[in-house]
Amino acid sequence: MNPNAARVTTLGLRPDAKIRDCLPTGMASLDAMLSHGENAGFPRGAISEILGPESSGRTTLVHSLLAASTAQLEICAYVDTDDSFDPVSAAAAGVALSQLVWIRCGHNAEHALRAADSLLHAGGFGAIVLDLCQVPPRVSNRIPISYWYRFRRAIENTPTILALAEREPIARSCASLMLDIERKKTIWTGAPGFSLLREVELQASSRKPVRPGSAQFKAKALG
């Protein structure tokens, strides 16, 4: 049976959700939560949104995604809207920096969107991260939905992953995956006055597609 075959409903033909190739992040619990048949991880040829407030673990997850992609010798790009990228923590997470194109947009969301558009239409990238974490909602909410439709059209039927890191959903219906990230626990060690930030426990839950349960994983502090 063709997995991509259309289904006849009372309201006409409804194409089933396309089964996409995926890129596992390397975090077992998260990959298990995102598994769909044999595929697990971030869907290729689609937009994925990583959502959460400050210090929730969005950047940690983005680094894991880039590390997984560069480990497969793919070329990736980081569109850094607010010049916030830290190559040291990315390299510590296993991102091959020589395979990463870093684009600093100087707090200009419009430049970031135009740069992402050029990258998506150039093709051949494994993962493109559009970092909108520090873009205020009054700016991000003004991005026309047509941008996201254009981006989605540009990457569908390609192996490229477009990951948006942000506070609130922006691409909405254009995104194939929406992950909510939350920091559950911060572990400090040492006596009061001599404490040390050790690690954080993060929790990811899938808002779209809706999946029961959540994935828990830990991230060690950079020492």
Binding site: S89, A92, S98, W102
Partner: protein, 411 residues
């Protein structure tokens, strides 16, 4: 095969090119070429030699050019370099017998040994036993003996003058707009790229020189990370560069120069992931540089230093390099520039923080981590760092170097 060799002080390539389009220049004063096809035009080898001599006299009165004709290239060279006038060697070796053995390319050691053996002429060298010579001198000894016997047959290494890929257009009227200028540049580029393609070459540097109406010059040079020869891609790169750096006055002449290099050959694998095509990637990055600025696009590179931000952004294309994945460390985000903060202290520990967009009570703090460096330069740094958990739920890294700043957040 019959070869003619010319030796003399004249401009020999020009004389040789009058008889054959392909010739070898073994030294600045020696050229050699084949004359097989000239027999119907000039007659016997001797007549050909006389025609060459006549041409040499016509071009350079006074002559002084030695001409040798032989059945092997090396015999002709040997004769032309050592026998004045016209030498015709139908059977090479006997005519060279009387030449000094020192006319062959001997090493100092070999010259001494031959002298001690009493070998003074080429004929004497040719008569030595080949096996014994190989045992004593190795392959070079055998090569010299074959040279002396005139039995080495080799193809010529054809002389190829250095090809330049340059062109220039002078305009009837000054052109100030970029679009008509690009139309003319495209014409130059198409022609030069076609030449590159026909010579199996590519360009890694493009220089455009605009001569301006006010007698100034506007020169732009594009250094390409990968050799390219597609005129459309090069034109687009030039367009974006000229849009970013337009000439100050209308142009009256355009010069274009391409630096030729061998094209890059890459072995692709069926199991390797698809990566952006180099020319397309360069074009994309050039377009993005036009949007965000030239210094803001590149590859992050870590620096060997303890500086708080030990990395830089280097231009250049991304290169696949396998890297092992380690554990899952916490990500960090910088605030660029760092946010100036007001920090309340209890003793020496921060208890409250206020910065643009960030306010709260410090719930937990680790520090201070004292770092300093570059005291031997003008960019000295010296600061105390703290990792703090704020009541707004976020984790920040703050530091104090006479003033307090929020450097970024753990995310």
């Amino acid at each position: 095969m019959i070869f003619a060799c010319l030796h003399g002080p004249a401009d020999l390539p020009q004389i040789a090119s009058a008889f054959s389009p392909s010739f070898e220049q073994t030294a600045p004063d020696t050229v050699i070429f084949r004359i097989d096809g000239l027999q119907r035009l000039h007659g016997s080898p001797h007549q050909i030699a006389e025609a060459i001599a006549q041409k040499a006299i016509e071009k350079y009165s006074g002559g002084g050019v030695n001409i040798a004709i032989a059945e092997t290239a090396d015999a002709a060279i040997l004769a032309a370099r050592n026998i004045p006038g016209i030498t015709l060697l139908t059977n090479a070796a006997p005519h060279l017998n009387d030449l000094d053995v020192a006319t062959l390319p001997l090493t100092d050691e070999m010259a001494q040994v031959f002298e001690s053996w009493g070998i003074y002429t080429i004929e004497q060298l040719a008569q030595l036993p080949e096996i014994g010579l190989a045992e004593r001198f190795g392959p070079h000894g055998v090569y010299l003996q074959q040279l002396a016997r005139g039995v080495i047959h080799r193809p010529l290494k054809i002389f190829q003058p250095e090809t330049t890929y340059e062109d220039r257009i002078e305009l009837d009227h000054p052109v100030s707009l970029l679009e008509p200028l690009l139309f003319l540049i495209a014409r130059l580029l198409n022609h030069q790229c076609a030449r590159l393609l026909s010579n199996a070459m590519a360009a890694n540097e493009v220089t455009i020189r605009l001569e301006l109406e006010d007698r100034a010059e506007h020169i732009r040079t594009l250094r390409l990370p990968v050799p390219m020869r597609e005129s459309k891609s090069l034109l687009k790169l030039l367009q974006m560069d000229l849009e970013a750096h337009p000439p100050a006055a209308p142009s009256i002449a355009i010069s274009l120069a391409l630096k030729p290099v061998h094209p890059r050959t890459v072995q692709t694998g069926i199991f390797l992931p698809v990566t952006p095509a180099p020319d397309k990637l360069e074009l994309t990055l050039a377009r993005i540089r036009g949007i965000v600025g030239e210094a803001n696009v590149g590859i992050p590179q870590l620096l060997d230093t303890h500086h708080p931000q030990p990395f830089t952004l280097v231009p250049g294309p991304p290169i696949p390099s396998p890297q092992s994945r380690s554990s899952n460390p916490q990500g960090f985000r910088y605030f660029r520039p760092p946010l100036p903060a007001t920090v309340s202290l209890d003793g020496n520990r921060p208890v409250r923080l206020s910065a643009p967009g960030i306010h709260g009570k410090v719930l937990n703090a680790a520090g201070p981590w004292r770092t300093s460096g570059d005291w031997w330069t003008t960019t000295v740094w010296n600061r105390d760092e703290w990792d703090i958990a704020l009541s707004n739920g976020a984790l920040y890294r703050i530091y104090c170097d006479s003033n307090w700043y929020v450097e970024g957040s753990y995310d």
